[in-house]
Amino acid sequence: MSALQDNFAEIIQMISIICLIALSVSILLLIIRVMKGPSNADRAVALDAIGINIMAFAALLAIILITPNFNDIVLLIGILLFIGTVAIAIYLEKGDLIDTEDD
């Protein structure tokens, strides 16, 4: 039973490496969309998806390196990603981020 458990630990390591490779390919596809994107909104969508992929990357790295220290980084990337996406969306909508004109 204990040998089976050790086997499963190795299988989880291998599967996380396979998942890392698949996520790398998916980030490559999203970078193609960032470069091609007909409008700026397409680029914003692809950048948002890249950020979410990087969150999953950090979680998988925590599994491969067997350390719980990456958990803060996952949360931090999520918060920064939301702020960045909102900033890009407001810039696309209004043309500037901070309204300096006096009414």
Partner: protein, 130 residues
Amino acid sequence: MIQKTIDIILDILVIIFLLGGTFSMFTASVGVLRFPDIYTRLHAASKGSTLGVASILIGACIFHYTEYGIISGKLILGVLFIMLTAPVASHLISRAAHLRGAKPYGTLKDQYQEAIDKEKRRQKQQQKSK
């Protein structure tokens, strides 16, 4: 004996969560690359990526439980945060794109634009009556 069986079941759960989440995120990025216009791309990116990253984070949480016996609240908070913010962000992007004049692919009628025009006409009439 029972503890070992539970550990093995949790390991299988981790594998299922990781593979399912990766599949979902990969199909989401293929959708972002292949779909024809901005709204369908948003549909793929926000839904697929959210499901995928939630699944992978839950898998990592279960892995930490089996490895150290801790339940990582930060990963669960990350799942909750993504579930809260991804719809808001995609809604903002789609509104900005519509304001910049992105046309929906293959549709003849734009009901959102009609509603905006109706609201503008109503406001003009109110200003005239004042």
